[in-house]
C-alpha cells in the first residue's frame, strides 16, 4: 500500500475501522459454511449426518413454521433482525471515535477527548477562579458541556468562561470547533 495523504490519515485516526465486527462476521460465515461443507461431505462419503442431512435441513426450511414453536421462531427472527441491523449500522455509520484533531504543521495531531476535557477543565478553573472539583467538563463529539459550581458569594458569568474556553480551543486549534455550553449551578460551594 502506498502513500496516504494527511487528510486520509486523519480520518482513519478519528473513525473506527470496524475490525471487531468484521472478525465476528467472518467467523460466523466460516462456521456456517464449514458446517454445510462438513454435512455435504458426510453425505458424499455415505456417512451418518452430524445433525441432519442437507435434505432434512431443506425440508425443515421449506415447510416452516412446520411443527416448530411459533414463539421460539418469532424470538429467533427478532434476534436475527436486531443482529443484522447492528451489523448494517456498523457498516453505514461513520463510527467516530471519542477523539479530536488539532492543527499542526509537522504532523497529524490527534487527541483523546479526555485529554482535551482535562485541559479545558484546568483552564476553566483558572479563569473562573474556582477550585478543583468544582468544574465538570463533558465532551461529546462536537459539543462541550461545562458544569461549574461557583464558590458561594463570588458571582460568575457564563461569558467569562465561554470566552476563556473559546480562547483555549483557539490556542489548541481544535478542528472542527465544538460548540460550548456552560452551566453554572445555582448552589455554590462554601469557602474555597
Amino acid at each position: 500500500m502506498s502513500d496516504l495523504d494527511d487528510e486520509t490519515v486523519k480520518t482513519r485516526e478519528l473513525t473506527s475501522g470496524r475490525s471487531p465486527a468484521a472478525i465476528v462476521l467472518a467467523v460466523l460465515v466460516i462456521v456456517l459454511c464449514g458446517y454445510a461443507l462438513f454435512e455435504a461431505s458426510l453425505k458424499a462419503l455415505g456417512q451418518e449426518p452430524l445433525i441432519a442431512t442437507p435434505e432434512t435441513w431443506w425440508r425443515w426450511i421449506s415447510t416452516l413454521p412446520g411443527e416448530s414453536n411459533l414463539y421460539a421462531l418469532a424470538a429467533a427472527g427478532a434476534v436475527l433482525t436486531m443482529l443484522g441491523l447492528t451489523f448494517f449500522i456498523h457498516g453505514v455509520r461513520t463510527g467516530r471515535l471519542a477523539k479530536h484533531s488539532m492543527q499542526c504543521e509537522e504532523a497529524v495531531l490527534i487527541l483523546d477527548d479526555q485529554v482535551l476535557a482535562a485541559a479545558l477543565a484546568r483552564r476553566t478553573q483558572v479563569d473562573a477562579a474556582v477550585g478543583q472539583g468544582q468544574v465538570l467538563v463533558i465532551i461529546n463529539r462536537d459539543r462541550i458541556e461545562v458544569q461549574i459550581r461557583p464558590t458561594s458569594g463570588t458571582p460568575l458569568s457564563d461569558d467569562t468562561v465561554i470566552a476563556a474556553l473559546e480562547n483555549e480551543l483557539e490556542i489548541n486549534s481544535v478542528v472542527p470547533l465544538p460548540k460550548i455550553k456552560v452551566k453554572i449551578s445555582a448552589n455554590g460551594v462554601i469557602g474555597q
Binding site: 460465515v29 455435504a40 416452516l64 471519542a98 463533558i138
Partner: protein, 204 residues
Amino acid sequence: MNLTPRPLNRLLCAIFGVLIMVIGIHLLLISTISGYARWWRAFAGEVGQTSLQILRNTTLAGQKDSWLWILIAMGLIIIILLMIWWIAVQGRGRVNEYVNSYFQDDPVPGRIEITDAAVEQILRTILGKRTDIVSLSLTLWENTPTPGIRVKVQPRSGVAPAELGAQVALAVRETQELMGVSGPIVVHLAAGARARFARSERVQ
C-alpha cells in the same frame, strides 16, 4: 494507524447485516402471518422441485449424486478461504523496520537497518525527562518510501495539548532528520486505558 481495508469492512458489514436482517424478518413474518407462511411453503416447494430437477439432470450416468455438489463444495471452500483472508487483513500494515537500505560506500559497503525501538530511543532522548509525559510509545506503519511514525503520548492530566503535541511532533521531525529521511507523522495524545471504552469524556 494501520492499513485495515476499511471500505471493504463497511461494505461487507452492510451486506451481511442486510442478509441477516432479511432472514430475521422472514422468520418473524412466518411465525406471525399465516398467509405469508402459506405463500412461503408453496414458493419453497416450487424451488425445491426445480432444484431437484436440476440436480437430477446434472447427475452423470453411474453416479449417485450430481456433480453440482462438487461445485457447491468448492464454492463453500472459496468462501471460507476469503473469510480467513478477511480476518487476516485486519490490522495489517504495521512494520518494525524504519530504515532498511543498502549503501555502496567505498571501503565498507553494507546494509543499514534501523528498527522502531531505535527510533523510539532517539525520540526519548530528544524529549528528555519531561514531567508532563506519563508514557510514550511508537509504532510504524507501512508507507513508501519511508514508513509513517505514530507516536502515542500519554500526557499528565490538564497539560496544554497543543503545545505538547507540537513539541513532540518537532522532536519526531528532528529524529527523522537524524535518520536522513522524512515521512508522515501522527501524534496521538491519549488518555489512560481506563477511559478507552468511554463514549463521552468526563473530567473534573
